[in-house]
């Protein structure tokens, strides 16, 4: 299907897909932010290697079922970036929260 389209049409398609991807990343980031708040409230660590493994296994399985050109390693590299950013969102929120707590204390 895709290979029959012209260069212009393909690029148009990529632009549309990117929009969907960014919107989905945004939704994912909001979830990660909410998770960060819950971790904060429950005194859990930001970095949960066990959970990251589950996420990684899940996305690899989904990818494998599609049979496209993205290899398992490629998905791993991409998702490492996604999880790096999720951790960062949670760290920034936790720092903000702690700073606020200190302010109200003093």
């Amino acid at each position: 299907m895709a290979e029959e389209l012209s260069l212009e049409a393909l690029r148009d398609e990529i632009d549309k897909l990117d929009e969907v991807i960014v919107r989905l990343l945004d939704r994912r980031a909001r979830c990660a932010f909410a998770v960060g708040r819950l971790k904060q409230a429950q005194g859990l660590h930001i970095y949960e290697p066990g959970r990251e493994k589950v996420v990684m296994a899940h996305v690899k399985a989904v990818n494998a079922s599609l049979g496209g050109p993205l290899t398992e390693d490629a998905i791993e590299r991409l998702y490492e970036r996604v999880m790096d950013e999720a951790r960062r969102i949670q760290r920034l929120e936790s720092e903000r929260h702690n700073a606020q707590a200190r302010e109200t204390e003093s």
């Binding site: 660590h45 970095y47 290697p49 493994k53 590299r77 790096d84 960062r88 760290r91």
Partner: protein, 348 residues
């Protein structure tokens, strides 16, 4: 910094390192390669790379940013230029500081000051408190020496640089000198550096005899951190295996430091070589390599000098050297002694 994990590490080892770094407030970017995992670590948290390197599964830790901040080019892009009275340090003009190793008596100090002024020096150097390798060597005249040096400097319209060895000398030297010199042996005397950081007088910081450039810049950081921004770095030779000179003058330190730091860099070819006949070639090389100034020992009668006579130039040799430097400096867009004193009627 970048943490490179060993080949074939377990997932737990990687997780342990990441967990530790996250706990320290860092952002970790994990990259899984075919045989190795590399962690990119960024953030403002305080991390000791050596401690990370000791963790299980870590192959090596590479630091990316310099440990010194205020002395770094990253912190301040443009060269630092400042005035000591009417003498501009770090500008286009190469500034020469010259004089005897030690102040010995009125006549010697005056005759040497007159000679270096005539040749084009802008600052008189001379020691009153001498850090000698042996406690039995001549230790300097103390405040009496400072009085002589100040008198000669003022008479001949020169600024004065002299060495401060100890916190207790800061007050008295401050009264006489225009520039504090910190000697090679004191480069890591952190209490002294911190105290000089509180003053608002120029500090000429010599490189320690076995100091790396990074250690040298960290010492400058101590002075800068106290709010004293007028720091001159002075290369004076480092200890190597070579014995034909006293120390090996590290000419390459000039362009390296100029790249890493915005501070002016001077060179002392006298202590670096320890021999009179090597002083002029090294001084020429230093100017050609981009030094902002020189610190040279000149004695009106070197053979009778009470310290370091062998490395002191005769006034005539110093004269000749200055004439050569006036030819070299323009080749790299610098000048030296803009106002040759000869024009004012001091011609030989």
């Amino acid at each position: 910094m970048v943490v490179v994990m060993k080949e074939r590490v377990s997932g737990e080892q990687v997780e342990h390192v990441i967990a530790h770094l996250v706990e320290l407030g860092m952002d970790v970017h994990r990259s899984t390669g075919a045989s190795r995992v590399v962690l990119g670590v960024v953030g403002s948290g305080k991390v000791d790379p050596r401690l990370i390197e000791l963790m299980d599964g870590v192959h090596e830790v590479l630091r990316i940013s310099e440990p010194y901040k205020l002395a770094s080019r990253t912190f301040k892009q443009e060269d630092t230029v400042f005035n000591v009275g009417d003498v501009r340090i770090g500008g286009d003009e190469v500034i020469v500081m010259a004089g005897p190793c030690s102040a010995e008596n009125e006549a010697q100090v005056n005759a040497t000051a007159a000679a270096v002024k005539r040749a084009g020096a802008k600052v008189l150097r001379g020691g009153a408190f001498k850090p000698r390798s042996s406690p039995y060597s001549f230790q300097g005249l103390g405040e009496e020496g400072l009085r002589m040096l100040r008198g000669a400097a003022s008479t001949h319209d020169l600024k004065l640089v002299t060495e401060v060895m100890d916190i207790s000398q800061i007050e008295v030297i401050d009264r006489y000198a225009d520039i504090f010199q910190v000697g090679a042996r004191n480069m890591q005397n952190f209490t002294l550096l911190r105290e000089l950081g509180r003053t608002r007088k120029t500090v000429l910081l010599k490189r320690g005899i076995s100091a790396t450039i990074e250690e040298w810049l960290l010492s400058a950081e101590y002075v800068l951190a106290g709010g004293n921004t007028q720091v001159i770095l002075c290369e004076r030779g480092i200890r190597t295996f070579e014995t034909s000179t006293r120390n090996t003058l590290d000419i390459s330190a000039i362009p390296i430091v100029k790249q890493l730091s915005h501070l002016p860099v001077f060179v002392d070819p006298s202590h670096g070589t320890g021999r009179r006949d090597k002083v002029a070639p090294m001084a020429r090389a230093a100017v050609a390599a981009g030094a902002d100034g020189l610190l040279i020992e000149v004695h009106c009668d070197p053979d009778k000098a009470m310290s370091d006579g062998a490395q002191s130039l005769f006034p005539g040799q110093f004269d000749r050297l200055m004439a050569e430097l006036r030819i070299i400096a323009p080749a790299i867009g610098r000048s030296i002694c803009l106002e040759p004193v000869a024009r004012r009627g001091w011609a030989r």
